[in-house]
Symmetry: C3
Subunit: 336 residues, 3 copies
């Protein structure tokens, strides 16, 4: 990694230097691992107790924390955001070489911008449009008529179904499947009849979609992610779900069909959200909760139960089964 002075970084990212502006940093590290040539950061006050032993060449931190650190610092109101920008600058990620890899299959009727990159073993079907600067990593499948926006990146082994529209700068991690059929079935004389899923999927600009996440195409109209929606790994989005801008959803969450999630929501890991609901903006759902009703007020909601020692939990389960009986007994006592 090349070295940078604090002065250079401060100028480029609009930060204040405290200490020696000529101090050079050439590595990025955690508070506990950083050495004299490394830059670290402190964004979560819970780690402030590590400042005493920290040997970093410099730290990114907030005005509030700077007095607890005796070394060089880059000071900013949002240390985590500054860290994100500087890390991306100092250690740029590797990219797929521009052009079409010789083992990739690109249908003659697909349109690939000359500045786009198609990696090994890809399949790009007829009618696709791969826009300028887009990167399609190894083993991706992009089906007929799909469009991949400018600077979007499919890391590898991603599946994009027919007619799906991926916005600009969207980042999709391996194993994700965008645009499989929704789960639509009609029972007819004792047999299931498949209901054609004729809608598509629209992924807005700046979305990120985690590894092995699935987003189904709509039944008639489209499944939609607005811009800057962030999905972690193994999230399941059913047909015709609509997710508002800037909403972030952690791993293993499932959202059933036709549900509408607002903007700036945060859904913690492994939650299940029922179908045909409306969740308003700025709702937080805590881990492993089940949402079965629409939510009309911003705020925090949950139904997860923290684990206890099994013997204690088993007694609680027994008591749960007795609650109906208790209600009767309590009322009886009150009536006396």
């Amino acid at each position: 990694m090349p070295a940078f002075t604090l002065e250079e970084l401060a100028r480029q990212f609009d930060l204040d230097v405290r200490g020696n502006p000529q101090q050079q940093v050439s590595g990025l590290a955690t508070l506990s691992a950083a050495g004299p040539g490394d830059l670290g950061f402190l964004a979560n006050a819970a780690y402030a107790r590590q400042l005493g032993d920290c040997r970093a060449g410099a730290l990114i931190l907030s005005e509030k924390m700077v007095d607890r650190w005796s070394g060089n610092a880059l000071v900013t109101a949002n240390p985590y955001a500054a860290w994100a920008r500087i890390a991306a600058f100092m250690q740029p990620r590797s990219t797929v070489p521009t052009g079409i890899h010789k083992t990739a299959w690109v249908d003659p009727d697909a349109e690939v911008d000359p500045s786009a990159a198609i990696g090994p073993q890809c399949s790009i079907a007829a009618g696709c449009r791969i826009d300028a600067g887009a990167e399609i990593g190894a083993g991706c499948v992009v089906e007929a008529g799909a469009t991949i926006g400018r600077q979007a990146r499919l890391v590898g082994r991603v599946f994009i179904g027919e007619q799906v529209r991926i916005g600009e700068r969207v980042l999709i991690h391996p194993g994700a499947v965008i645009g499989a059929d929704g789960f639509g079935l009609a029972l007819d004389q004792g047999q299931w009849l498949k209901v054609p899923q004729m809608g598509s999927v629209q992924i807005g600009n700046d979305c990120e979609i985690g590894a092995n996440t699935t987003i189904d195409r709509g039944a008639i109209e489209d499944t939609v992610l607005e811009e800057d929606v962030r999905l972690d790994n193994q999230v399941q989005i059913a047909h015709n779900v609509h997710i508002g801008a800037h909403t972030a959803i952690a791993g293993c969450v499932g959202i059933a069909g036709s549900t509408r999630i607002g903007r700036y929501c945060m859904i913690a890991g492994a939650c299940g959200i029922g179908g045909h609901l409306t969740i308003c903006d700025q709702v937080i759902v805590t881990a492993m909760s089940t949402v079965l009703d629409s939510i009309e007020e911003p705020g925090e909601y949950g139904s997860g139960i923290p684990a206890r020692a099994h013997a204690r939990w088993k007694r609680i389960l027994v008591r749960l089964g007795q609650l109906d009986d208790w209600a009767r007994r309590l009322r009886k006592l009150e009536n006396k």
Copy 2:
């Protein structure tokens, strides 16, 4: 999309016309989006209030609803099934061209019917049999000795393990893995020893398997899905599970090893079903429930807890921890 008169559709799908039989429809749309050239449908009474504003050229609906709609109609006892059939007819899905794509690898010892289609970047191993009319989409891997039945369709990037047998007209969505090893381990002197998984997987005719769903091979005997089983996305089926015909399982459900599920069951999203259980026919399990005991009576079962405002839920959690104490106090009061 070509245009059809209501008379033509009624004749072909055995429906009754109400209104103008010469009315043409050339599009398919929702109640709220349909215009004068579109066909829509009403299957769920909850949407009946949209009939007033609906501008569709015609609607598919039931005898019971037809009086609430003043426009043209195709009348049937099962509007959703009629919609499924007409939609598939009016907007046929695209297909993989017959024959073997030039970038696909087909082992010389594999047997591919001339009417089957093998898409780009596939790998078909020795001893496979791909039957008439089967479609293997881009990037699929079919391992040694597997068989893919007539008209079956692997949409793309599907993995089929060795010796797995896929029935006729089975539809498998991208990312599904059928026939990975079951999770079999023996602890031996402080180390895990892998227990070979020598069984296979049998998928009956007309099954549908969702994106990124996994179905493990059996330990000794096979894991079995009977005919017309429908699995949504990200379902996990462990080794030696047996699922009865016409059972439908929603997204993110996990079923542990050797459990037997009956026919015509419906398992809602994100349920967990324990191992070595027997669930009888026609059982419904509600969303995010945990099934840990066998079920011998048809009916509806559940243990999911709907989320509440977090502050209220936290108080309930505190109360849960006190139940044991309450039991004692309640008894003491009663004894007085």
Copy 3:
């Protein structure tokens, strides 16, 4: 399958024969399906009632069970481990042929041991090292700088991210994604900013990783699995998780970022484990539990609720909502 006498098997696997040492077995079967030429086993006492009807040529069982079985036997303290070894010996799995398949892409700057095997449609990027005896099945993607240890096996369609290190004899099932970016986001002026994920993943020797399981790369330092960790299908391991040796995790479990799990833990199916926790050695978590606090004592923990008939469960849910009120009423009664 070739035939073996009990005497041969006993000598090779250090077992005791009871009955006829010249008895030949050429098949492997369950207690209920085994015929006179088959070897079976009994490891779980719950199946002992099947011994009466069993027609197996021989059974592997423990000293304690041998008197309940009148046929030939291979006797050992750990029948399940003996079964695992004998099954692997009698029915060896098929292997990918050594060398590089002609449809695979191997970058000229990758290093592939001549005894390694690269299957059809693989992509092996620059700077990778594939060690002696490793098998990379069809459709795998191994990104730049990753290393695959001796005798490791990627079954097929596995994704290994940049710089990821896979140990010796590791077994990775189809659809697994090792080394996608962790879910790191900084909110900056109402937009999410991606935090670069610069760490990697280290998978220790003898680990097994299930189908469609995801293990994210660390934010700064690495995500780590020590040796002999066993993960089932659809497990999600977030960035910077550390899992101790010999821990086994069943299907559909999710573990949030930076959590440390001890050695010899067993996590049952579909559990969710929160972030930044420490779970000590030898902890068992029961199915579908939510772990939100660190655990400092070995033992069994849980919070899963077994499903009941829905009507009864709905009444319990109503009572749950009343608990706060009950607390007040109970106290009032006590005060009288």
